[in-house]
């Protein structure tokens, strides 16, 4: 009888202990990605504790805004273009790939590149690409991507939100977080 109850009890404990989200602690905003970089999470945001991305944050719920940050090795193919990257790619070539990966999503109507510029991320040369598309309701969705390649692989910082209200509302938080990136 006790044994039969133990497993559900342990499961319940595990589930309760592994909360999916944690609010960013104002007294401890630093996020460390091991052997890679640190950044300061923006105030008022909430981090998803278990995610396919290295870091995933949202302020109002992922459908309204999110920041997703991910590092991948060069020899891993990009999902849509099936391209691999190299440390020697020019920033413009990195931007090309950022755009190509988004363009390959057929369901995005009215896709446009609003801006595409060289940038700096933690002192490393990077790109800053701002794109927009519309969904089936005609709601514009905007994405701002900072991306770079280095010896470790490729790294992308993404901020996405509906273009109405929510993108402009929290883009400053994202840009501020970008400025706090420090590579180890």
């Amino acid at each position: 009888m006790m044994r039969r109850l133990l497993l559900p009890f342990l499961l319940a404990l595990l589930i309760a202990g592994c909360a999916p989200w944690s609010a960013v602690d104002p007294n401890n905003r630093l996020i460390k990605v091991k052997d890679d970089y640190t950044l300061e999470a923006p105030m008022g945001w909430v981090r998803r504790n278990y995610d396919v991305f290295d870091i995933f944050l949202s302020r109002d719920g992922p459908l309204l805004n999110f920041i997703a940050i991910d590092r991948e090795k060069h020899d891993r193919e990009l999902p849509r273009t099936k391209r691999k990257t190299r440390a020697e790619l020019l920033p413009q070539e990195v931007a090309e790939l950022v755009i190509a990966e988004q363009k390959a999503v057929d369901t995005r109507g009215s896709f446009s590149v609003l801006s595409n510029q060289p940038a700096s991320l933690g002192g490393k040369p990077a790109v800053r690409v701002h794109t927009r598309w519309k969904n089936e309701r005609g709601l514009p969705i905007e994405r701002l991507t900072y991306a770079l390649v280095d010896q470790k692989g490729r790294l992308a910082f993404i901020y996405e939100a509906p273009g109405l209200v929510y993108f402009p509302k929290a883009v400053a938080d994202f840009e501020a977080a970008i400025k706090t990136v420090v590579f180890q």
Partner: protein, 237 residues
């Protein structure tokens, strides 16, 4: 095991329709407003609810005539509620030129996302999101403010949802499933209603309902639903 699961399913089948508003979320500001400061003229945006039929084999197909009926039921029930309770008056959306209709449509698209976010995170029930309940800043922005001038309304009410109605064949499959211990999903409904200030876009209140037995084609059932929704609307003391 089969006997237990069958018993549970029979029980579920025999319970009266669970059609009460299960959730709500309220902008803390709304509760503190005096009667004078509260919404007085509410524009009823065209409901964004679709009604579909689930066939015996589980194929879901939208039904345009049922959808029109259900949406009309929602509007009529809201108008009736407003007349009886006199918290605010209502008016229906006039015909709009194409550009304005597109603006409304894109804002309804935004509302869809806002309502989902409030449901999942804005009620402050989930760990990590507790602060959202008091730090409420959900909004549609001022993009719909042109409707204030156009209609004289100060707020907009939006219904969004889906009602999937099982056919007789599907219900028969459910019954047979019970007998042999297989769970055959039946249709269900999920409907939300939200109130937004037309000047600022601020969302002041949302209510939600989830039911396995509601039929939005029936005017009486929709009237009960609307009354349940507004039970969660904060009235002045």
């Amino acid at each position: 095991m089969r006997i237990i699961s069958s018993a549970i399913f029979f029980l579920a089948l025999s319970l009266p329709g669970l059609s009460q508003a299960a959730f709500s979320a309220i902008n803390p500001k709304l509760s503190s407003l005096t009667q004078d400061q509260r919404p007085k003229r509410v524009l009823l945006l065209p409901p964004q609810m679709f009604v579909a039929e689930m066939s015996a084999g589980g194929v879901i197909q939208k039904q345009d005539d049922w959808t029109r009926q259900a949406n009309e039921n929602l509007l009529a029930a809201t108008e009736a509620y407003a007349r009886e309770n006199r918290h605010f008056e209502t008016l229906r959306m006039p015909e709009l030129p194409v550009e304005e209709a597109e603006i409304v449509e894109s804002h309804i698209g935004l509302y869809d996302r806002v309502a989902s976010a409030i449901h999942a995170y804005g009620r402050g029930k989930d760990s990590g999101w507790e602060q959202k309940k008091s730090e409420w800043d959900y909004t549609l922005g001022d993009g719909l403010s042109f409707l204030r001038e156009k209609t004289g309304a100060d707020s907009a009410l939006i219904f969004v949802g889906a009602d999937i109605i099982s056919t007789g064949g599907r219900k028969a499959a459910f019954t047979v499933g019970l007998l042999i211990g297989i769970a055959i999903p039946l249709g269900q409904s999920f409907i939300t209603v939200g109130l937004a200030d037309l000047k600022t876009g601020e969302i002041s209140w949302l209510s939600y309902d989830q039911s396995m037995s509601m039929d939005s084609r029936e005017a009486g059932e929709v009237e009960s639903l609307v009354k349940d929704f507004f039970k969660t609307y904060p009235h002045p003391e």
